[in-house]
Symmetry: C2
Subunit: 367 residues, 2 copies
């Protein structure tokens, strides 16, 4: 394989050693809870080789698009939850996957959609989405809507599902654990309410990376979903999901301009290659549009960060930026604020193992 000096820039790098550490850390965290399965969310990685490591033996996975559902089904991952509210127009595609031997489960929080699902020839299985406090999607765990939707779904109902994306705003391990416990109690209460009404549920699905990592107990939950932990990013590091140095995905970039008068350099990685995500804006350490590391992925460039982006330009500044080491053509790596968004801008990963390029892995982008 070529070296990092031969790759075009910008390019997306995936450090396999870091990925494996992140996977092991989460596997261990979930293993603390007997009977709870990890159902990794592939919306971040969108890649089958990563899924083979994260869901070993073609285990259960979560997906966020029909494109992912099809791609992972093609790669042998039959047990999927498509964890974005389903619309009737997408049922044919899901049922076709299921008719071909897959078990792609859909979710809903809407009575009309539940009726459409019930009326569809299938095969289809459904989870009801429960709002456990995020206020994004889902029905209340103790409301009448939950029962009405379940009644409409009938035997196609197989479980309940919740997401605690608001845990991303947590600022301590205790705060994550508290959010995890609130989520657990509410999604389990929803399941109990449905079981009391005569519905047989086999799946009680919860999770997000911080809560999967720090939940104190998960009694009643059958599985945890998490995705961003695999790659990690500058927000997840500050949430305690992984150490700051364990960001597995970085963007390889070249210096395209050097400006001593303002102590800045420009990179050929801008708004498209990094995304405009500003997830660390409210975090203890604001990394602007990304932390700039040296070519080996080490933090030897002072507090270098991408402070401003244009479509194909990223402006780097920061305390201690060593301009003498950054002539035009020099290469650096940018660790992302929010890896899901950054990775989605790229068609493939250049995979590193022990610092050497060993493979190119594709991504199932788009819809």
């Amino acid at each position: 394989m070529t070296s990092l000096l031969d790759l075009p820039t910008p390019s997306l790098l995936l450090d396999l050693d870091v990925l494996k550490r992140n996977l092991a850390r989460m596997a261990e965290a979930v293993a603390r809870h007997p009977g709870v399965v990890l159902r990794p969310h592939m919306k971040t990685a969108k890649n089958a080789q990563v899924a083979d490591l994260a869901a070993q033996g073609k285990g259960p996975i979560t997906v966020s698009t029909l494109a992912e559902a099809r791609y992972f089904a093609d790669h042998g991952f039959r047990d999927q939850i498509y964890a974005v509210g389903i619309v009737p127009a997408k049922l044919d595609a899901v049922a076709a996957l299921n008719a071909a031997g897959n078990a792609v489960k859909v979710i809903t929080d809407d009575l009309d959609a539940a009726r459409a699902i019930a009326a569809h020839p299938g095969p289809l299985e459904v989870l009801i989405e429960v709002d456990v406090g995020e206020g994004r999607a889902g029905v209340l765990h103790d409301g009448e809507e939950l029962l009405a939707i379940a009644a409409a779904l009938g035997p196609r109902l197989v479980g309940v599902l919740s997401h605690s994306g608001h845990s991303y705003a947590g600022r301590s391990i205790a705060a994550m654990a508290e959010i995890a416990e609130l989520e657990r109690s509410r999604v389990v209460a929803a399941a109990e309410k449905l079981r009391a009404a005569g519905h047989a549920l086999r799946i009680v699905s919860a999770g997000a990376s911080p809560t999967a990592m720090y939940a104190g107990r998960l009694h009643g939950v059958t599985e945890m979903r998490a995705g961003v932990y695999m790659m990690g990013d500058l927000l997840q590091a500050q949430l305690g999901v992984h150490p700051l140095d364990d960001v597995a995905v970085t963007v390889l970039a070249s210096v395209i301009g050097r400006y001593p008068q303002r102590q800045a350099v420009l990179l050929d990685a801008g708004a498209l290659a990094l995304s405009k995500d500003r997830s660390t804006e409210a975090a203890p350490k604001d990394w602007k549009f990304g932390r700039v590391l040296d070519l080996d992925g080490r933090p030897t460039l002072g507090e270098a960060m991408v402070v401003r982006v244009h479509q194909e330009h990223g402006e780097v500044r920061g305390e201690g930026l060593p301009l003498d080491r950054l002539p035009v053509g020099a290469r650096v790596r940018v660790a992302p604020n929010h890896v899901c968004l950054t990775a989605a801008a790229h068609a493939q990963y250049h995979v590193l193992e022990n610092g050497r390029l060993v493979a190119i892995w594709e991504r199932a982008n788009h819809w």
Copy 2:
């Protein structure tokens, strides 16, 4: 062709009628300046059919990546400026295009890069980038660096180039015209300084959509570059580049959840399908993550806008949001804050003419 009801969601739509109006408006604006050529920037559209309309007869274009340079060369657009500072590692690729009969010009503002360009076997032609006030890239128009770089480039130097991206912060036509005149005076002064030093320059290239539209005079400038005007977006509309209703690119999305208790709906277009660009944040009207229109692209949904995004979820709220018209499965269109970023998330355009789907056009994404 299928109808808008049959397309998968999210999908990117391009309204050809609006595109043509936007192209005509800019062509007319630039035609006010005899001897000034429009060199459309294809970084927004990244599509050859659009280039055929914007640069008729395979006219001169601007590109922002090597991927675009190759793609447009393959489609017959030989005269290109690759308007992002070049690094030595990319010179082989550019020279290969030129050896095949193209004229892809590169830009630099760096003495070391200029020496590398001069030492390369070529064929290569170069413009020096001049900073006219944006403070992003470029040398000063009246500094010694300009002359040193020119001397290093020797006969490969064919012009100077400036960009006034700071015109995006302008808030009146008078302000745009003032920025345009400052840019003109500085880039022309740079050209004159180089000519006085014995360099023959045939290109004095300036521009950005707002300044191309509103420049009062362009004496000494040979060409204007602009790109986002073709498609338009919610920021450009507020800069007066086009009417608010002339946004040619929208994202088709489905309602995936309806929440009367908080007067909101969720769409299946979120951070990936719309981007996280917040360009209108500081504009007179902040459209958050995009303006929500009905399926015909008309503003009949009150002040509906996407107020919050997650990876595949967009939450819509706004004064007068008609929830009764937005059940799960209903389809809407989202006009983007910043079309360059939104379009880049999609592999292709679904092209509409007189409201009917007539074609699918690809995009030359990535690098």
